[in-house]
Subunit: 217 residues, 2 copies
DNA sequence: AATTATTTTTAGACAAAACTAAAAATTATA
DNA sequence: TATAATTTTTAGTTTTGTCTAAAAATAATT
């Protein structure tokens, strides 16, 4: 399997698990920053290989085989991210681009040894679940901070947006995975939130709050 | 720089440091298991980029820039090999193929952090020197076991052939980096050697002896 | 229902990196 | 030195993955 094929599979996987339906040619093109015609070409190839279900003009989904392949790429990506943060001391906003390269290294033995070396983590540095060697994923209970009601408490367990800008913003506000967040109030005009983290009160926009996953406590 | 360009640079580097002269199109083709015409195409491209000195029919050598680039690829290859053996528990005959992939990962910060994580090793699992971040190499004193004289002692410090078959043979004979080897005698008929390792006497062919580097003690 | 807008596919082209076959240059040999 | 053998380069294809422009299909609006 080529890097390009792997990247398409991964994108289709992310798009289908996000929306839980068939995904359109344009959606793939936009996510991959390429042209729709290129996507069509690749979908035909992936369909020939039995990795996707594709009928002209009807959108696309992964076959069982394609889904497993995609999960293995995601597994590699997230395990390498854990390695970079836990062992090499990278910060969580630096690891994604490097993991985009490392996820294409082909060796099942390597990734399983890496898994063991890292003590078989179930989540990556952004709170995303890591598929095990059979492709199984343990879903964790979580909801967006923006969906909490007043005076509820949540533990930060993940981020929806994993861009460097957002992660650096969180660093600045001293919000990290594991941070306890108290939802104080919501401003009805702009939906901004008043919260309390690390003993400090803070106002955050709705955009921030709807990119932070928390677990109710 | 593409993977292919990097592989050509690395091959030219190995061939020029082995023979210390201009290297031929055919030599590159043979080492890379490709055709001479493909090599010619690539040499033109590398020359355009200022990475090699190339004149038609005259052979090729690396420019300073090309040499540094090649050294950085070798550095990555060998550091990853150390990681695979020291941290993940691979044996020395399993790591080369995986390192062939990992050497193309692009991130200077990654490789320098890996270097520190491994405590800045100066040699890889096969006894080959690891260039530092400026490309400097500390050459170690070594000679082939086949060049020793009777009753001399040597410490095994490296292998010339790094094929899996040879390395597994050494494992079987319990010869590893650091093993103390006593040269007992040489059979003039076939140049085979009688040696003593780990208290045991052993007969090895000349082919074996001329692929084992030792340091005189 | 007909027209318009959007999405998707097809057709044709291009760059990278490989190949085969043939030509040109170099090297070896008689 | 002339001829033969070898090496290297050139010319022309192929495959992969991309692109643009045009055609076809689908979806949205009058
Ligand atoms: Mn990532
Ligand atoms: Mn992640
Ligand atoms: Mn190696
Ligand atoms: Mn090595």
């Amino acid at each position: 399997m080529t890097f390009s094929e792997e990247n398409y599979l991964k994108t289709i996987y992310h798009l289908t698990t996000a929306s839980d339906s068939e995904v359109s040619t344009n959606a793939i093109a936009e996510k991959m920053e390429t042209k729709a015609s290129s996507v069509t070409d690749m979908l035909k190839k992936l369909a020939d290989k039995g990795l996707v279900n594709y009928k002209k003009y009807q959108g696309v989904s992964l076959t069982e085989e394609g889904k497993l392949a995609a999960k293995m790429i995601v597994r590699k990506h997230r395990l390498w991210e854990v390695f970079l943060v836990e062992k090499l001391g990278f910060s969580w906003d630096e690891v994604h681009d490097i993991a985009e390269q490392l996820e294409h290294i082909k060796s099942e033995k390597l990734i399983n040894k890496l898994d063991d070396f890292l003590d078989n983590p179930t989540e990556d540095p952004h709170g995303d679940p890591i598929p095990d060697r059979e492709g199984r994923i343990v879903k964790i209970e979580k909801q967006l901070l923006s969906e909490l009601s007043e005076n509820q408490f949540g533990i930060c367990v993940g981020v929806k947006d994993t861009s460097s800008e957002f992660l650096k913003y969180l660093d600045k506000q001293e919000i990290a995975l594991g941070s306890k967040i108290e939802f104080l109030s919501k401003e009805s005009f702009d939906l901004s939130l008043r919260i309390k983290v690390n003993g400090k009160e803070l106002t955050i926009s709705n955009k921030i709050a709807s990119n932070l996953f928390v677990k109710l406590v």
